[in-house]
Structures are given as structure tokens and as C-alpha cells.
Symmetry: C2
Subunit: 414 residues, 2 copies
């Protein structure tokens, strides 16, 4: 089976290394990249054609196109043209699959081809195949995981080294774990695209990724990890989706997670996905979510899947009914509220009154000693209630003059 690689960066080179490291029924035939002469290496077979022109690939006798250039254009058009010219496609492009996955699967089926995207979520962790094939016999109702290694690296650095968010981000950028513009990662946009793909492939719910709530981790301070520890918890950027009552509840946000949860054990840039099935209960998949080699393993596993003439992973559920459900972030959940106030009598009474009027019960109040009265941080935890109720109450509380900065509200994962 002849394979063309579009995009010869870290992942593309790692794919080429695996394909040329042993005879496996897969032959690298084309490598496409801009400024291709800069990219030539001497360790691939001499028969490989190096090109900058997509027409060279599309007109050639290539069986599968591996798209690793990323972004929406021209990747989307090239994938569509590859499928239309009778080539299957393997891609790691989460932004494209989150937006156009179902359409690309339909197009592939129309042309008797396949589109596989195991590398688009959680890199080397085989979660797309795990949900679509390994757990095909179950009816999955909930997914929850850590899908962004950059955020997890930053959060575990704040947790373990006591860095501020800004320091941890700067360090991650220095080490190459975070981009110069880190917004896709820290604001949850990257994880939300992956969550949309998981909701589609695991829960069989088509969801517009832009309709999923994404909240930034940039509001967190080291004091939040100290209070979380008092509560037997830590803080993670959690992506979760739950089918319930004809709705899809979904969000990407920093949450308190119990220290005994597998989510709390995820260190550095690792990824983890937990699924909850109607019959099989909880299943966990974990491993390296990024990096050239782990992502390349996912790509080559998809190539093998196509080589073995299996339906693509997506096709496993393309035939099944994909539902469209209204999307909500209004989970019913416990909450952690952290305030920073200028101390004066009656603050807790004022806050309690607002919460009481909304019908929200306070679960606990924590105030660590040793802070100045002009910038006093303290924490209230709430019993389970709708997230929208909490938000409404916090809008009211935001007008109170004793607040030195906006309150931080985190859902608590149960």
C-alpha cells in the first residue's frame, strides 16, 4: 500500500521513520512540504518522490494520503480531493475533524474510501479505536478527560513548584511545551475541539465544537491549589461530555478533582480519557497525548487499520445513528468559590444571603491564616446545584464593594 505524507515536520518525520524501519506492507511513496529541498533526508528509500505540489500526489498511484499540515486550509480541500480521487486519508487534524468530520466520513463512503483520525485526539493514546471498537458493545453515556498536555503541564507545575500561572506558562514556553500565543491551549479551545470529536465518536452525538463552553485556566493562583489540597483535591483542566435527558452537557474548564481520581494522577503532558458505559462501567485510557513518536504511532495504527481493509474507525459508527442534541454546560455539580476581599464585618453574611436567595446551600468555608486584611483570600464550597444558578449569584456578588478582584468559581468533579 503506497503512502504519501503531506507535511514533513516532527510527526511526519516520525511516521516516515516507522514506515521505513521495517517491512510492514506500507511503502512511503511521496513526501510533500513547502520548501521541500530544506526537508530532504537521506534515510528514506530513494524511490520516494519529494514535492511541493499537491497535484503530484493526487495524480499519482497513491493509496493513502497522510495529512499532517494542520489547519483548515488547504488541508480540508486537499483531503476532499484525495477522497474524490480514490485515496483514503489518515489525519491528525483535530480542528478540521471537529468541524467537518461527519461530512468527510460521508464523502469517504461515497467514494469507497476511508478517513481515519485516531491521532487527532490524545496523540498516542488509542482512545478513538478504544471507544469505537473496543467498547462498541457498550452504550457510552459519559466521557471525561485531560486532553491538553500544555495545560496539564502548567497546572502540575503550579501544584508541585508553587509557581504563579504566569511563571509556569513562561517556563512551559521556554521548554517548548507552550506556544508563543498560548490561547488555544490555556483557554480550552484545543481541548474543546478534541471533546467534540470524542462526543461524536464515543457518544454518537454530533456537536458544533464552538457551542461547548471553554473556560481559561489563567484565573488560577497557587492559593487555589492550597485550598484544593485542604479539600483532598487538586485542579485539572477537565473536558467532559454527558448524555442526559435529551441533552448533551459539555464543557472544558478547570475543575477540582479528588486526589484519588485517575485525573489527579495525570502528571506533566500526559493525557487521559475515562468513559462511563451503561453496561461496562468505567474504562480508562492513558498515555502520551502529544509528541512526534506517540502521534506517529496513532497515524501508523490507522494505516494498518486501512491496510487490513477494516472500515475506518469513524465508519464503525457512521452507519449507526448519530444524533444531534442541544448542548448545555449547565451541569449540576458542587462548586468551589474563591474570593479575595478587603476584610470588613459581614462579608460572609452578605455572600450567604445571596446564595440563600438562590436556593444554594453552603457546604464549607475555609480561610487560611497569614494574609493581609486588604487582600484576604477565602473559599466557600457549595452543595450540588445547577452551574447557571452559581453564575447568576456570582453576577450579583460581583457588584459588592469588598471584592478586590473577580471571584474564581470552579466546578468540583464527583
Amino acid at each position: 500500500m503506497k503512502v504519501a505524507i503531506l507535511g514533513f515536520g516532527t510527526v511526519g518525520q516520525a511516521v516516515a521513520r516507522i514506515l521505513t524501519s521495517e517491512s510492514c506492507g506500507l511503502a512511503l511513496s511521496h513526501v510533500l512540504n513547502r520548501n521541500i529541498d530544506r526537508k530532504r533526508v537521506d534515510w528514506v528509500p530513494t524511490a520516494v518522490r519529494w514535492t511541493e505540489d499537491i497535484e503530484d500526489v493526487l495524480s499519482a498511484d497513491v493509496d493513502v494520503v497522510v495529512e499532517l499540515i494542520g489547519g483548515l486550509a488547504p488541508a480540508g480541500e486537499w483531503i476532499r480531493r484525495a477522497l474524490e480521487s480514490g485515496k483514503s486519508v489518515v489525519t491528525a487534524n483535530k480542528q478540521l475533524i471537529a468541524r467537518e468530520g461527519p461530512e468527510l466520513v460521508r464523502l469517504a463512503e461515497q467514494h469507497g474510501q476511508r478517513v481515519a483520525f485516531g491521532a487527532s485526539v490524545a496523540g498516542g493514546v488509542p482512545v478513538i479505536s478504544g471507544l469505537g471498537e473496543g467498547l462498541a458493545g457498550d452504550e457510552l453515556v459519559q466521557l471525561c478527560g485531560i486532553l491538553n498536555g500544555t495545560c496539564n503541564y502548567i497546572l502540575t507545575q503550579i501544584e508541585s513548584a508553587g509557581f504563579s500561572f504566569e511563571e509556569a506558562l513562561a517556563q512551559a514556553q521556554q521548554l517548548g511545551f507552550a506556544e508563543a500565543d498560548p490561547s488555544e491551549d490555556i483557554d480550552g479551545l484545543d481541548a474543546r475541539a478534541k471533546l467534540a470529536i470524542l462526543a461524536w465518536s464515543g457518544l454518537r452525538v454530533a456537536v458544533d465544537h464552538a457551542s461547548i463552553l471553554a473556560r481559561s485556566i489563567s484565573v488560577l493562583e497557587p492559593i487555589d491549589f492550597e485550598y484544593a489540597a485542604l479539600l483532598g483535591s487538586t485542579i485539572r483542566q477537565v473536558s467532559r461530555a454527558q448524555k442526559s435527558g435529551g441533552r448533551l452537557f459539555a464543557s472544558v474548564e478547570p475543575m477540582l478533582v479528588d486526589s484519588s481520581s485517575p485525573l489527579a494522577g495525570v502528571k506533566g503532558s500526559q493525557n487521559l480519557v475515562m468513559s462511563q458505559g451503561r453496561f461496562g462501567g468505567e474504562t480508562v485510557f492513558a498515555g502520551h497525548g502529544a509528541g512526534g513518536n506517540p502521534t506517529a504511532v496513532a497515524v501508523v495504527s490507522d494505516l494498518f487499520s486501512i491496510l487490513r481493509a477494516q472500515p475506518a474507525r469513524a465508519a464503525a459508527f457512521a452507519g449507526e445513528e448519530i444524533t444531534e442534541l442541544p448542548v448545555s454546560a449547565d451541569f449540576t455539580t458542587r462548586h468551589y468559590l474563591r474570593f479575595v476581599v478587603r476584610d470588613e464585618p459581614g462579608i460572609i453574611a452578605s455572600l450567604a444571603l445571596v446564595l440563600c436567595r438562590a436556593g444554594i446551600n453552603i457546604d464549607s468555608v475555609f480561610q487560611k491564616p497569614g494574609f493581609p486584611k486588604t487582600r484576604l483570600p477565602f473559599v466557600i464550597t457549595l452543595e450540588a446545584c445547577a452551574a447557571s444558578l452559581v453564575k447568576h449569584s456570582l453576577d450579583e456578588i460581583a457588584r459588592m464593594e469588598f471584592l478586590v478582584q473577580p471571584a474564581v468559581a470552579l466546578a468540583i468533579l464527583d
Copy 2:
């Protein structure tokens, strides 16, 4: 696709529940069991044929036979006859697959059929498909996991409740987690059959399960968990297999595992498998290793895999080269040695001399206070060396008169 279930116990009934709970392209056609009248239920379609006679199934227009009777006979013969009569087979029978898996896969291929056995290891955890398909693009070099929920339940009870081994076993038996004759579980025979299947499907090494070292957890005492905790560790029944230097290192034995390891986080009857790949690094699969519903999910996932005309999981690597390697349990590893002695001067000197002559370095010595001088437990940990060296030294030490009972030696997982 018409499905016959052989064996209508907990798992068989759970499979029938899933098959009849929604229209999924799979139709239950036969249920076979001894004393079948005792087994009839009213919630399956009336067209289902209830029988005690395998000929009814083999002569019928059935597409897939689900074998859930367990044991070697008559299960093996029935599976072979089903394949020969043009039916694919799904089985949860670890003892049979560990012994005859490669042969059954070959027989299935000869008859254009498939044999799938995702339920034979780790119940609902999709590890067979995960290794064979999700990680097909990697070259796996090492597997390590907790494959026996009964042992893990017993060990976590000793750990958390301070039970003796005998108390924890009795409790597990009362709760139905352990058999009246618990030897298959606690002596590691169950886990070793599963490890042989994983070595075959994940590492592509055919191994006779009986050639894998299996050591019992029955030698453990609560004091071992106390000393393990001093070492930042706990104790788990670990199944591991490693391809190295033209050999397969493999064993099932109680080991010290670091408290931060995913293995230490496995509570109760859960299962977990970690794979180490040449390219993708470490990947973790975890979930419910047993129980009717999780095992049924694995069975139905295999049925879907056959329905989608995918090659069976085993066939994924049946085409690839399966090697046969000499099997060894002689891992090079750190060790924990626990002695119980009648105290007298010079004990540690005597032990140290034996270890020194074998070229083994002592790493640490621990002696907790508060024990009688006539039954004094203490612990020595050793730097990494071949397990066979340790065994040889312990044979020599066993003759020393100050020993009140045989020493307990546990490898330490790094």
C-alpha cells in the same frame, strides 16, 4: 447476523440482555445450557431456540457462536466444530485461548471464519483490541499489569484494613469475589494464562503459559505492607512480560510497586494493563476486569467487530510473524527481603556475608520497633541484580538456624 450463546450464566445472560435491548444487527437465535428448562427467561424473543444439544447449534443457520461455558472440554471441541462448520466464534475462555489460541486462529482462517477473544483478558477493559489495533503502529516491548481482580481485592484489603491474608481471603470468599478453592487466583495461575494471551497478542511471542513463573500471594503478611509503605510503595500481584535479548522475561508474582505508579492506584477488583512501545512509550488501559456486564461488553464488541467484517483481533497479528522465544523469569531487579528471626548477635553480618559472596549489594535495612525478640521481623532491600542470584543466596540463608520461618522475597518494580 445470528448469534448462539453456549452457557447461560451471568455473562451469557448479560450478553443476551445487551443483544435484545436494542436493534443492532445482531439477533440471538440459540441458547445452550445444561438443564436448559431451569434457564429459560421470558425477556428474550420467542423465536430463540433453547437447547441442551450442541448439534442443534452446529446444524443451524447460525453465524457466530459465543462460547461461555469455560474449561477445556467440551469447549475446545465445540469451538473447533463450530469453526469447521463455517461459524465464527467469540469466547471469553482464557484457559483455552492461552493453550490453543494460535491453533484456533489458524483453524478459523482455514475456514474463512474468525475467532475473537477480547473478553478472555481483563473483562471489559479493551486491551486485546487496544494492543492489536489501537497500538498496531508501535512495536511493543513490555507489558505489565494487574490481571486478577480477586488477588487485587485481597491485597487492597490487607493494605487498607490491616487484615491477615487468611482473613482477607475468607472475606473475599464470603462476598463471592473468591472461589472456595482459591488456588487459581492466589497462586497466579489465572493471571499467567492471561499474561500468555497478552504476550501472544501484544508482543507477538507464542509462549506456553505453564512455562511462566507464578508465585502465590499467600506468603504476604500485614507487616510487608507496613515495610512497603516505609519504602513509599505498596504490594500488588504483578503480571509482566518483556522482550529482551532474544528472550521473553515473564512472571506473575507479588511485587513492591511505587505508590505513584498506576498499578498502586488499582483498587478492589479492577484490572489495569500498561504497555511500553518502542515509539509511543507507555500506554495504560484500565477498568472492570470481571463481572457479567463488563465481560458481556467485551463479547458484544467482538461480535460487532465480526459483524463489520473486520478481521478478528487475533488475525490482526496472525499474518505477522509470531516468534517463539525461550522464557525466563530471571529479571534483573531490585529486591525486598523480609526475614522473621529469633534475635541474636551477628544475624545481619551473617546475611550480609552470604549476599556479599554472591556479589549482591544491600541497599537498605529496616527494623520496626515493638516486636518480640523471639519473632523479630526485619527487611533488607537489595540493589538490582538477577533474580536467580537472590534465589540462590536465599537457599543458602534458609539453612540458618535463627530463621523462624522462610524468608519472603519480593521483586521491586522500577
